[in-house]
Symmetry: C7
Amino acid sequence: MSVNRYNFSLTTFNPAGELKQVEYANNCGSKGAPTVGIITKNGLVLATEKRIDSKLTIGRTVKKLEKISSHMAMAYSGMAPDFRILSKMAQKTCAAYSLVHSGIVPVDGMAMAVSNTMQEFTQSCGVRPFGLSVLLGGWERGRARLFRLDAAGSLLPFRACAVGKDAEQRMEFLERHYAPRLTMEAAVYLAIQAIRMGDEQSLPAQHFEIGIIDKTGFRRLDIATIESYLMNMN
Amino acid sequence: MSVNRYNFSLTTFNPAGELKQVEYANNCGSKGAPTVGIITKNGLVLATEKRIDSKLTIGRTVKKLEKISSHMAMAYSGMAPDFRILSKMAQKTCAAYSLVHSGIVPVDGMAMAVSNTMQEFTQSCGVRPFGLSVLLGGWERGRARLFRLDAAGSLLPFRACAVGKDAEQRMEFLERHYAPRLTMEAAVYLAIQAIRMGDEQSLPAQHFEIGIIDKTGFRRLDIATIESYLMNMN
Amino acid sequence: MSVNRYNFSLTTFNPAGELKQVEYANNCGSKGAPTVGIITKNGLVLATEKRIDSKLTIGRTVKKLEKISSHMAMAYSGMAPDFRILSKMAQKTCAAYSLVHSGIVPVDGMAMAVSNTMQEFTQSCGVRPFGLSVLLGGWERGRARLFRLDAAGSLLPFRACAVGKDAEQRMEFLERHYAPRLTMEAAVYLAIQAIRMGDEQSLPAQHFEIGIIDKTGFRRLDIATIESYLMNMN
Amino acid sequence: MSVNRYNFSLTTFNPAGELKQVEYANNCGSKGAPTVGIITKNGLVLATEKRIDSKLTIGRTVKKLEKISSHMAMAYSGMAPDFRILSKMAQKTCAAYSLVHSGIVPVDGMAMAVSNTMQEFTQSCGVRPFGLSVLLGGWERGRARLFRLDAAGSLLPFRACAVGKDAEQRMEFLERHYAPRLTMEAAVYLAIQAIRMGDEQSLPAQHFEIGIIDKTGFRRLDIATIESYLMNMN
Amino acid sequence: MSVNRYNFSLTTFNPAGELKQVEYANNCGSKGAPTVGIITKNGLVLATEKRIDSKLTIGRTVKKLEKISSHMAMAYSGMAPDFRILSKMAQKTCAAYSLVHSGIVPVDGMAMAVSNTMQEFTQSCGVRPFGLSVLLGGWERGRARLFRLDAAGSLLPFRACAVGKDAEQRMEFLERHYAPRLTMEAAVYLAIQAIRMGDEQSLPAQHFEIGIIDKTGFRRLDIATIESYLMNMN
Amino acid sequence: MSVNRYNFSLTTFNPAGELKQVEYANNCGSKGAPTVGIITKNGLVLATEKRIDSKLTIGRTVKKLEKISSHMAMAYSGMAPDFRILSKMAQKTCAAYSLVHSGIVPVDGMAMAVSNTMQEFTQSCGVRPFGLSVLLGGWERGRARLFRLDAAGSLLPFRACAVGKDAEQRMEFLERHYAPRLTMEAAVYLAIQAIRMGDEQSLPAQHFEIGIIDKTGFRRLDIATIESYLMNMN
Amino acid sequence: MSVNRYNFSLTTFNPAGELKQVEYANNCGSKGAPTVGIITKNGLVLATEKRIDSKLTIGRTVKKLEKISSHMAMAYSGMAPDFRILSKMAQKTCAAYSLVHSGIVPVDGMAMAVSNTMQEFTQSCGVRPFGLSVLLGGWERGRARLFRLDAAGSLLPFRACAVGKDAEQRMEFLERHYAPRLTMEAAVYLAIQAIRMGDEQSLPAQHFEIGIIDKTGFRRLDIATIESYLMNMN
């Protein structure tokens, strides 16, 4: 029963100065599928696990990475419908920006816009926080950028980052193995390892969604490519 | 009494990071009449059980499948009035789309529009989530598409899918018997079997509503056709 | 005291996926005076019991059936003031429709409009559901239509239907005695019997309100006519 | 203390399908001063008891009957300020009607307008129901009309009616003594008797407010006239 | 603690049909300083006790009587800030009236306008009732008028009236001593006596505020005049 | 825990007719730093204690007295941020007044405008009362005026007044020592004594803020001047 | 469980006249990373600790100091997303100011604008207070200004100030070591010492963010410069 007494507490502090509702929303992100982002010398890798409950699901068309603009993409751990709303919002913001300005959309500006929306949902009454953690990455002016956004609206730049289930252990793994100027290939191997960490059985290729951003823009790896990565790892 | 303490909790997370009210709305869908969608080599079958309490009900005109556009339709498990609202909304969106664009309305765009509406009702205060699960299917550019939408606003593409009462067992049944390039006829037999699963007595033809979508568009099977299917099965 | 704790629960699901407040509103309809609708070969009969507490009430002018358009009418069980609001709304919708379109207003469109309003009052905050069950009937294109609407906004077509107190027993009675191509006269006898069912004393003519819809439109039976029906039955 | 837990319950049903808050508002009307309306062969009598706490009150100018239009008036039992609001609203509606239409305002239309307002206050959040019962009477097209309106927005036509304290006993008294074509004089005697019923001491003339509506319109009886009625009765 | 559970109950009835919050607001008026109004043959006296806590208060400029128009004034018992709001509102209404109409503002119309505002604050959500009782008096067409308004929005005309602390005993005193055609002087003596009633020590002149309205308009008695009245009384 | 149950009670009366939330807001003012205002024969002194927690605070620029117009100023006890809002509002009102009218702004009009704002925050839902007591003083037409405003919106004129911590004892002190036609110098000594009352150690000059209003307008005493006052007192 | 009962209490006083929710918001600031501001003879130093959880965070681009205009900056302790909102608001206000006025934006005006926003969030319903303490500093007309703002909207000018974890001890440290006309260099050493206070291990250069404002405007110290400061201190 106690579970149902958390009504409307979203906007208030407890005596310890904490916003419990925001922490609970972050717990929603912390239970999500593991998602990893890694900056390389030429670009950026975003990788996530797709949990596909049924073999009748057309996994290929389930998108857990969303292209935001030609050189920018978002991944997440947590509630899929909330992510859809946020990513659409980001795509529209990019499109609107392009109508006014020329050149590539700045990655940090987009990260701030998205995280400001997430903050707003923690300070207003009558809405709940977004239930997810987001990795937003992009390529601009010759280098890759990667940001982690959480339900509170926090925003931090990373060289490599993991969110979702057991994020702490995966972060430690990345810290041990990350090297400043990884090749794209090495980063894909590292991302797959970080996601597979602790799994007793190796996940099949369809359970991965991997995206790459470099100077040519964003593209998804096809299943065959992911399979060849997996085969090389065993 | 405890039943009545769930007021206004719709928009908040519990400490475990769950949105209980959305789960309860999904429970409403999970108790609904079984509904099945199956993609075939030439199109798509949508089938559902019509629970007709009285023989005085004019079952023929009760519609549990709604045509959304010439090549698209929706079925559901859960609250009929909520479905009526969502399906009308979808029909209007299609009609508005046709006024602006030419050609056939994209199925995934429509699925996203409907599920965004469902998500919005989980994040705003003062409304409750929709109490149903939806199957939305259509034919476009030479192939059929089938999406499952739930009360949280989740959206997943399927080759074949069951929602409503005992959805898990019916999914397992579909997984065992689904074949990639089924004929339309075989898919109708499969859908009827999935719906009848576990019933001790065989349902009469009037208790089924079956729709077919192919390149010629959406049409409902008449009672005589359903009866001949049922007779062939016994 | 517990009775007063049901505040604001109208828009939320309980763990079982039920909307209790809507069920309670339906209970309001289920306690109302019995009301019956029967489709005949040439039209439709709507009949209801008028509970007149005092002989000083001018029963003749109490209307429990409301004409909605030339060929359409509504009856109800439950809260009279709520019915007045809904029927006025329906009358205005019909009048507005006639200003734009020519010909007779479609009965199913009107039934959907009314039940959509009833659904809306179950999903929005700050209003309560309507406390009644409605029978809406009409004649169009050579045939009669009859719909049952409930507090949840559900909408079902019937050949014959009873709502209000002991609706289940009255439905069983109708199921036993209904025949597809009843004459109008036979349908009036059947409706009266369904309403009188279980009453120890026979109700006087003033306690009935009976309306008929056929190709000539809607009209109410006068007291003398009802009395002659009653006399023939004893 | 329990008295103060009834917050905001105005718009919801309890499990028995009742709107308790509306019943409580009706209880407010049921405790009010007795008020009686009687249709005669030539018109209508409205009579009520004025409870004047102090002899310093200028009873003569306290109006418990309000003229609504030339041939229409309202009386009430319950909260005086609520009545003032409703009667002003009715007067304005009549005045606006006269600007647009010619001829006398229909009594039943006015009764419906007032009771619709009362219904609206039972279905919306953030307002309470009106705390009174109303008798609305008028003369039109050669006959008198009398309506009883309650806090729920119910509307019933009567030949004679009593509201307020001990309304049931007074109704029984009226039922025993009412005759179809009473003279105006006889109706005034009957109304006074119905109001005095059960009082040990006879009320003085100032404690009555009596209005008459006939083809010449509405007028109040002066104290002298009421006194002569009272003297004739002892 | 219980004191703090009365949240938001302002607009609802308890089972006995009472609006407790309005009664509590009236209790606020009933604890206020005694205030008296008396109609004389040539005008009207309004008198009230000024409770001046400190001799440093400039009692002379504290106004507990407010002039509303040339021939109208208001006095009160209860919350001073609420009175300020109501009296300003009345002054503005009078000023606006004068811009449109010629002649003196009707006293009963003003009393109704003020009490309607007070009623509105008992029926709307999100505001509390006004915490005071008001005496509003004026001179028009050769005679004086005096009205009592309470927190519920009730409105009663009086020849003489007392509100505030121990209002009942003061009303009895006025009833015993009031005579229909008092001189202004006699009414001032009577008002002072009614206010001093029960006080062991006689209040000094500064503790009275006394206003007079006659055909020449409203004016306040100065301290010297009040003192001479007091001296004549001992 | 009980501390946190006072939600939303701001606009309702308890059974004793009290507005507890307003009393609590006044308690906030009653705990504030002592503040004193004294009318002299040529003007007005406003004095208050500045509690400066750290010697690194630039006490000189902390303003606890605010100039409202050339000849008007406000001081307070209670919440500094609330005072900032109120004083800015007053300054803007003065500036707007000057644009429309010529001459000096009336002090009582400004006091009423500020206290009306304070009253409004006690009667509306969704805001809390202001947490302070205000002294507002000014010079106009050859004389000084001084008003005390509290959280309820009460407004009283004084010759001399103290608000904040132990206001009652300080008022008694002022009552004993106040004389009608004090010199400005004597009033400054009196104000300092009233503020220091009961302090074991004498406060240094920086802990006082003292303002003077006379026909030449408002000015603050500098530290040196305050120091010389303090030295003369020991 | 009790933690979750603090709903909506943000705008109400408890009986002691305290706004607990604002105190809780301040507790959020009081747990934040230590932040220090020090005025020097030529300008101002702002310094804060950057808590960088992972070595994969790109600490260099995490900004805990925000430039507001050419000669103004803000630092904070508490919630990063809330700070981002406030600092953006301040930057926009400055930009808008510059479009209208010429010259440098006044520091105290900006401090007041920001703290007014913070106050507003403590007095309105439906929002929570900002969860942080802010140091806002700038250079104008030949001197530096430094203000501390807290969640209540309080605003105090300081010569040197510390906010965040153990602010009291750090203030004492600053009070002991602050000298009126410090050089910029000495102030940087002092700020670093105040932040390192009590840490057993010395923090590396990357864990500091230090900004300087003088007549040439705002600039951040680079890592190398901070490192040389740290080396000189050991």
